[in-house]
Symmetry: C2
Subunit: 399 residues, 2 copies
């Protein structure tokens, strides 16, 4: 008997470029090969003890649903955390807790766009935005950023030309995944003005907000336009606190309609996980600024090691990232995906290999980034050095 | 400056009928009124100690992402749990772990349907199916079940007439939320034959599988058609183990395409929460059959108390549920939603009131169920008795 058909939208949802080669990594590990994971933004830095204290402190006999809008103490604590760090005046009502930033972005795509509507993004872009767009039937309209210009935003004239009658939002990841580019006040002001002019939402994914280097200061778009009804911030505990597995993110906006209609979607999925929300409500008021600063300094050190190691490889061109913990590099290969697969399937050096994310999947525009890779500096400096030297050996053998 | 528009799909996503009056309940509590929650399937039964042991045992320094397909130990343990209880031969590869059954259903709507495609459901139906349909652009095509017939399925001829060129699946909740009806082997066999004939998916939400009363035995649709490529089961820990706040569900199917394409969607949201998956992997092999049986017996007792108490109220007609933990009752009011709001806003008896879910929101068909309510028997027997006597007093005052 023939099977029922799979939907077109499922067939068109791209597998994650970060995870699609994961089965090859598993096979390599099964053969006893040590795999350095530079492919995924999964830090090795310890999660804060305050969070685990919050987990252990949970002692309710029944593990009940949390409110669909999120734990009230957590929303208050998160609002205060943002108020303190970015000099804002947010209330709990301006936040909706989501199951990771991922869910927050899916809600926002759904609330701001009908199927067929358009969101302007900047290439290269966080690959999962393409997954969210496929899921929600939204068309991403990419504008190219150039490696040679440090992936700076195109000028406003070019962005303006990309706006159509179908455009509903501009989506920016700042600091940027995958490029590590940090967009500053001037660029944000330009985008806000454009969104005001064209009645668009500006959605800024600030998952990596604190991770900026070389003397830059963290800057939330909310600081520039605190009461703007067009501005929606996506935030997350995943990277800032090495809590990827907690799945706690949030939507922050002064637009009460966006919160209210996102809440209807949130009610359909009932709630985000309860225990992690309680633990996060315990963490945020307790965590010290210094501990975040220590993590930031550690990433800056790792970045220096990664960039220096990459630049020492003949034919490799790395763009120095000023934020987040990713580095885009052009490799001396035609097809970085084939090379990444080669590294996992066919290569090892003294029982070790390196897993990189081919960058093609980070470009909405087809046929871009084929020879580029994204490398996450989420391992300690000595492991990064070793991972890059294994990568260099792989490149020599691949040619 | 005018705000950017909210999408049509967000405007059309219904608020949960279970949660939409929650603000009135909060206001009542703020006034010091005790609220009996019969509106929501949030049991007061303690979660299993094995689960909390699993939570406390988590001791990895970094709370990392879990695999997108779910923790492998959990998938193995869940397959074994189903194999033991339903005499199946499932492997870990037949399961995908989801953030609650809710996410599993959203994935399955997306994988089986394109926007505009149709899924046949039976009215009254679990209200959040309407939310998932709105989110995914799927059209629910309801067939009416009659309270007078214990909400039995319509005969196959009627179901057959509802199938169109756009139909992709039939969705059944068994045991049923909100009616408590249990569909047996014969009905399941009929639906499977129909799905075979018309090349449709049969999606069975078995969240309440073990909760059947009056000598009925739990029956998974997988037992009837173990290798059927059309059959997709949605399962959840939420109700069986009083773990609503854990947000752990799963998709079970022998159809490898459904698993593979659901995994692409799952990769976009990265992973379900890590700690709960480890705890669930610890729970499932350790939990005793007797503890599940004890919970089942407790619900049966509560059902008896609820039905007896409701039947004692003049003008109330309750349909005796044989499964799950909900009871549909016709109230002697024209508009059960207005009455439910009255109970929260305008009524209390000795400082207490009762929160019921108006049933209109459980009908896809408009203008049905206006005088009905869904009552969850998730409180202990003495509280149920008290809640119903408060309800009866409210009905007297309302007239």
């Amino acid at each position: 008997m023939s099977k029922p058909p799979i939907s077109s939208r499922a067939l068109e949802t791209p597998p994650s470029p970060i995870r699609k080669l994961a089965h090859l990594a598993q096979a390599a590990k099964a053969k006893g090969v040590k795999v350095y994971h530079l492919n995924i933004g999964q830090p090795d830095i310890a999660s804060p003890p305050e969070f685990y204290q919050g987990i252990k402190a949970f002692n309710k006999p029944t593990l009940a649903y949390e409110d669909s809008s999120g734990n009230l103490n957590l929303r208050r604590a998160w609002a205060n955390f943002l108020n303190r760090s970015s000099n804002l005046s947010l209330d709990a009502e301006d936040l909706l807790i989501t199951t990771g930033a991922s869910e927050g972005l899916i809600f926002i795509f759904m609330v701001t766009c009908d199927p067929g509507d358009e969101v302007i993004v900047f290439d290269p872009t966080y690959a999962n935005y393409m997954g969210f767009a496929a899921i929600t039937g939204v068309r991403l309209k990419p504008l190219m950023c150039q490696a040679e210009q440090g992936f700076a935003l195109p000028d406003l004239k070019q962005i303006r030309r990309r706006i159509s009658a179908k455009t509903r939002a501009i989506l920016l990841c700042n600091p940027n995944n995958p490029s590590g580019t940090v967009y500053q006040r001037k660029e944000l002001e330009g985008l806000i003005a454009l969104c005001n002019e064209y009645r668009l939402f500006l959605v800024v994914d600030e998952t990596y907000r604190e991770f900026v280097y070389d003397g830059l200061k963290p800057l939330s778009a909310l600081e520039i336009a605190p009461g703007n009804q067009r501005l929606i911030i996506i935030d997350s505990l995943s990277k800032r606190f090495s809590l990827c597995g907690a799945r706690i993110g949030c939507v922050v906006t002064k637009n009460k309609d966006v919160i209210a209609f996102s809440l209807n979607l949130a009610q359909a999925r009932l709630a985000a996980p309860t225990i992690e929300q309680e633990a996060a409500a315990f963490l945020l008021p307790a965590v010290s600024r210094q501990s975040i600063e220590d993590v930031r300094l550690e990433y800056q050190k790792r970045r220096d090691v990664l960039v220096r190691s990459l630049q020492a490889i003949p034919g490799v061109a790395a763009v120095i990232p000023q934020g987040a913990f990713y580095c885009m590099a052009r490799l001396p290969v035609k097809d970085a995906e084939a090379f990444a697969a080669f590294m996992l399937r066919d290569f090892s050096l003294n029982g070790e290999t390196t897993f990189i994310a081919p960058a093609g999947g980070f470009y909405v525009s087809h046929d871009r980034g084929a020879s580029e890779a994204r490398l996450a500096f989420v391992l300690d400096s000595s492991q990064i050095e070793q991972a890059v030297s294994v990568l260099a050996a792989g490149l020599r053998e691949y040619k």
